[in-house]
Each structure stands twice: as structure tokens, then as C-alpha cells.
């Protein structure tokens, strides 16, 4: 007999054990353990999820800390007169659970980028800046700038109270059903060189 011969039997045994009613623990004990175990697991999972949404986590790698973070620190989303700050995840991670999970799974691909050092130097980052930005712009365009709209909305916007150029442009944006990222590329980071012109004029 080899190990391979034993493996199906072991799995079948485990499955059979799992399906067997408990003769040792009461149903109440199992329910209580499952309840608190569930809370612990879910709490831990969400805590871990939230930890990866923190600014500190995002700039834990030098690729973000030395490049996009430094640019963002000079913008209104970092410092402004009201003291309301939008951190990385506010713009780049959806709030609702389903979309957040999808985004987190997608973002796990960035681990591979970290391992391979695809943006490990300023030169490499600049070389990839346009491609990275285009991915994010496409995501924002596709979801109607959902993360922007967590804080900003045309419905809540009084364009008459805005400065002249913002007021005029927002009136055009509303009339033409534009989405935030159509005009606000580069609002928190340096615009890449070689940007393509949009086709949706």
C-alpha cells in the first residue's frame, strides 16, 4: 500500500465523521460554539479586511509610499479647510461588501507585482503609471464613479455656490450625464504622460 492508496480512504473517513451526529455534545453546545465561533471568525475576517483598508497598510510598501502617496499628500483629498480626509481605500475600494470582496480578490494580484518588483523603482513606476491609471479610470468609468459618489453627488451639489469654472463645468457634466472621472483624472495623483484622448466627446 502506498500513501496515494490511503488518501481517498482518509478523506472518506473524515467526511463520514463530519456527517455523523454527535453523541458527546448536546445540540445546544454545538449551536453556542458555532454561534460564537461564527462571530469570532466573521469579526476576525472583517477586522483583517478593514486593516487592509487603512492608510498605513496601503503605504506599507515603498512603491505606494514613495510615489502616489507623496502626490496625494499635496491634494485637497489629503488636506482641506474642512478636515475631511479621503484615504486610499475611500477612492479605490468599494464600500459595499460584494464589490469590496471582488476588488480585494482583484487586488491580490498586486502581491505578484510586489514579488516580481514590477514597480519597485521610480523609473519602473513611471513606466507603468499610465497603464495602472488606465485600469483605475476604466473601473471608475464602468461603475459611474461609485467611490467618488460615496461623498459627492450631483443631487447634493449646489452648482450656484461653486466657483465659476467648477459651476460651468458641472452644469455641462450634469446635462451630458458625465461621470466624475471623465473630468477629474489626476485629482489625487500626478497625471501620466501619454494619456489617450477619450472617445466619448
Amino acid at each position: 500500500m502506498t500513501d496515494n492508496d490511503n488518501r481517498p480512504g482518509a478523506l472518506a473517513g473524515l467526511w463520514a465523521t463530519l456527517r455523523q451526529p454527535s453523541s458527546k455534545y448536546s445540540l445546544l453546545t454545538i449551536v453556542v460554539i458555532a454561534f460564537f465561533g461564527g462571530i469570532t471568525f466573521w469579526g476576525g475576517f472583517n477586522t483583517g479586511m478593514e486593516a487592509t483598508n487603512s492608510l498605513e497598510f496601503c503605504i506599507g510598501c515603498h512603491e505606494m509610499r514613495d510615489n502616489v502617496y507623496q502626490e496625494y499628500r499635496k491634494t485637497i483629498h489629503y488636506t482641506n479647510r474642512t478636515g475631511v480626509r479621503a484615504i486610499c481605500s475611500d477612492c479605490h475600494v468599494p464600500k459595499d461588501w460584494t464589490h469590496k470582496m471582488v476588488r480585494k480578490i482583484q487586488a491580490s494580484g498586486e502581491v505578484w507585482g510586489k514579488i516580481t518588483g514590477s514597480i519597485s523603482t521610480p523609473e519602473k513606476f513611471e513606466a507603468k503609471r499610465l497603464e495602472l491609471a488606465e485600469h483605475e479610470w476604466a473601473r471608475m468609468k464602468a461603475n459611474d464613479s461609485r467611490e467618488c459618489r460615496n461623498c459627492h453627488s450631483f443631487e447634493g451639489m449646489d452648482v450656484e455656490k461653486q466657483k465659476l469654472r467648477g459651476s460651468k463645468m458641472h452644469k455641462i457634466g450634469i446635462a451630458e450625464k458625465k461621470t466624475c472621472i471623465d473630468c477629474h483624472k489626476g485629482i489625487a495623483h500626478t497625471k501620466p504622460k501619454g494619456m489617450k484622448e477619450d472617445d466619448d466627446e
Binding site: K163, L164, R165, K168, M169, I172, C183, H184, E197, E201
Partner: protein
């Protein structure tokens, strides 16, 4: 010798007085003054201004909005001057004064159009490419064939490949792709007046405006008065102004946005009839 000099000198004085009399014809105290603002525009040629990824306001321009319609607010310009002074839009270095006011008056009679500019030319420029002239004042008037001239002012002559733009040919002057501009300029050295044009290239002479100018400096305020032929009553002339201060040259000027000057018609600014 002295006998030959005297008539020439007298003739010169008479010509100068005649010129001064013509230029100074309007009673400027009765002509409304409007404060325009000129600014250092950096590397923002028409290609930049109309490119959406560079200038989101280009969407407004395509809708017929004027530059001043968005950027002139509460009696000043609302540009992001920090951005205009940044390396991306001003790789050579921005002047210390990014914008300053310029008093603008205009009047006309049946023969001539008179324009008076008054301003304090700032020092602290980043470029001193014109060793001869401390200050120059230029006005461009667009003809009807320049596309969107009433919206864009001088920007239709300002191109990314024109001299003093980064990497551009030093011999390539400003130009238009369509239509033409009349160019009148006063330069401080010798009070030189140029009557030129901008078409496929800029020419500093051969213009048809019959431009004359006089200038004075009181304290640190320059007053430059231009006289040119009346373009015809009932016209609204698109125009723009450039001030080259502190010996600057090429694109290192302070420019106005585009406006229209009404001669007998309502426009952004209407010339007074006298």
C-alpha cells in the same frame, strides 16, 4: 551744417507733436476704464488648451464657452497659478509675479481706434531674452476667419512648436492655421512701434493698421496709447494683449484672455465714441 539740421529738427518735432496729438486725441478722463488681468500662461498653447486630458475645461470651449467665461471671476483670474508655475507647465521657471492688472480704455472716431493700456510691469521674471527692451506691449486683433477667435483670443497663434516653447525651433514664430491677426506693438527701446501681422508666420512690419503709439512712465506705471485705423463701425474685434515685462521674450510674457472690442456695437468691451 547747423542750417541743415534746424529744418530737420523742426520737422521731427512737428511730426512728433502731430503723432502725439493724434494718439492723445480722446479725453481719456471721460473714457471708461476696465481692469483686465494679464498672466503668465506657461506652456499652455492652443494644443494644450483644447486637449481634454490636459485641460478639462476644453469641454466648455467646445460648447462655445470663452476663456474669460470660466476664468475671469470677481474681477480677477481664477487660475490655479500654482499649477501654472509648476515645472510641468513652466519648465524654465515662473516669474515671481504670475498675474497683474492692466487698465484698458478704448475710444474711436471716424478715422481711428485708440487703445490705452496702463500697468505696472513687474520685475522678477525668469527669462530676460530681450536685452534691448525692458517692456513691450502688444495687441493682436483677429479677423473673421480665425476660428473661435472671440473665444480664444491670442491662443490661436500660440502653438507648441513655436519658438521659446520647450524643444521648439527657435526660428519658428507664432502662427495661425486659419485666418490672420493684425499685430501692433510698442517696445520700450526707442519707443519703437510695429505694425505687423500673424498668418502662417509673424511679421513685425507690413501691417495695415497704420499703428502709432506713445508711452510714458510715471513712477512705476507705464501708460501706452495705441492708435490704429478704425476697422469699421459695427464691428466687434476679437483681441488679446501681451505684456513682455522685465526684458522677457517669446512666451515668457503676461497675456490677457480673449475679449471682443466693440466699435459702435456691444461687445465684451465697447469703445467710446467721441
Amino acid at each position: 551744417m547747423s542750417k541743415s539740421i534746424v529744418p530737420v529738427a523742426v520737422a521731427g518735432i512737428l511730426c512728433a507733436l502731430g503723432s502725439l496729438a493724434a494718439v492723445a486725441a480722446p479725453d481719456w478722463s471721460k473714457v471708461p476704464k476696465r481692469d483686465l488681468h494679464v498672466f503668465h500662461a506657461g506652456v499652455t498653447p492652443i494644443e494644450w488648451a483644447t486637449k481634454k486630458s490636459d485641460h478639462s475645461g476644453s469641454a466648455g470651449m467646445r460648447k462655445g464657452e470663452t476663456c474669460a467665461g470660466c476664468h475671469e471671476e470677481k474681477g480677477a483670474l481664477n487660475f490655479n497659478f500654482k499649477r501654472l508655475a509648476d515645472k510641468e507647465l513652466e519648465p524654465k521657471g515662473a516669474p515671481k509675479t504670475m498675474t497683474f492688472p492692466l487698465g484698458f480704455q478704448a475710444a474711436y472716431d471716424k478715422d481711428n481706434l485708440y487703445i490705452r493700456l496702463s500697468f505696472k510691469a513687474p520685475s522678477g521674471g525668469a527669462d530676460k531674452g530681450d536685452k534691448d527692451n525692458e517692456v513691450k506691449a502688444t495687441i493682436l486683433f483677429a479677423d473673421a476667419k480665425v476660428p473661435q477667435a472671440a473665444q480664444y483670443g491670442c491662443w490661436q497663434t500660440c502653438h507648441t512648436d513655436a519658438r521659446s516653447m520647450p524643444g521648439a525651433d527657435d526660428k519658428k514664430t507664432k502662427y495661425t492655421k486659419e485666418g490672420a491677426y493684425e499685430l501692433v506693438q510698442w517696445a520700450s527701446k526707442g519707443n519703437k512701434v510695429s505694425d505687423g501681422s500673424v498668418t502662417t508666420e509673424r511679421k513685425m512690419s507690413g501691417g495695415g493698421t497704420g499703428a502709432k503709439a506713445e508711452a510714458s512712465k510715471s513712477g512705476d506705471t507705464y501708460t501706452v496709447t495705441f492708435m490704429r485705423k478704425n476697422p469699421g463701425e459695427g464691428k466687434a474685434l476679437p483681441f488679446g494683449i501681451a505684456i513682455h515685462a522685465d526684458n522677457s521674450h517669446g512666451r515668457f510674457h503676461h497675456v490677457s484672455l480673449g475679449y471682443t472690442l466693440g466699435v459702435g456695437v456691444n461687445a465684451d468691451i465697447s469703445a467710446a465714441k467721441f
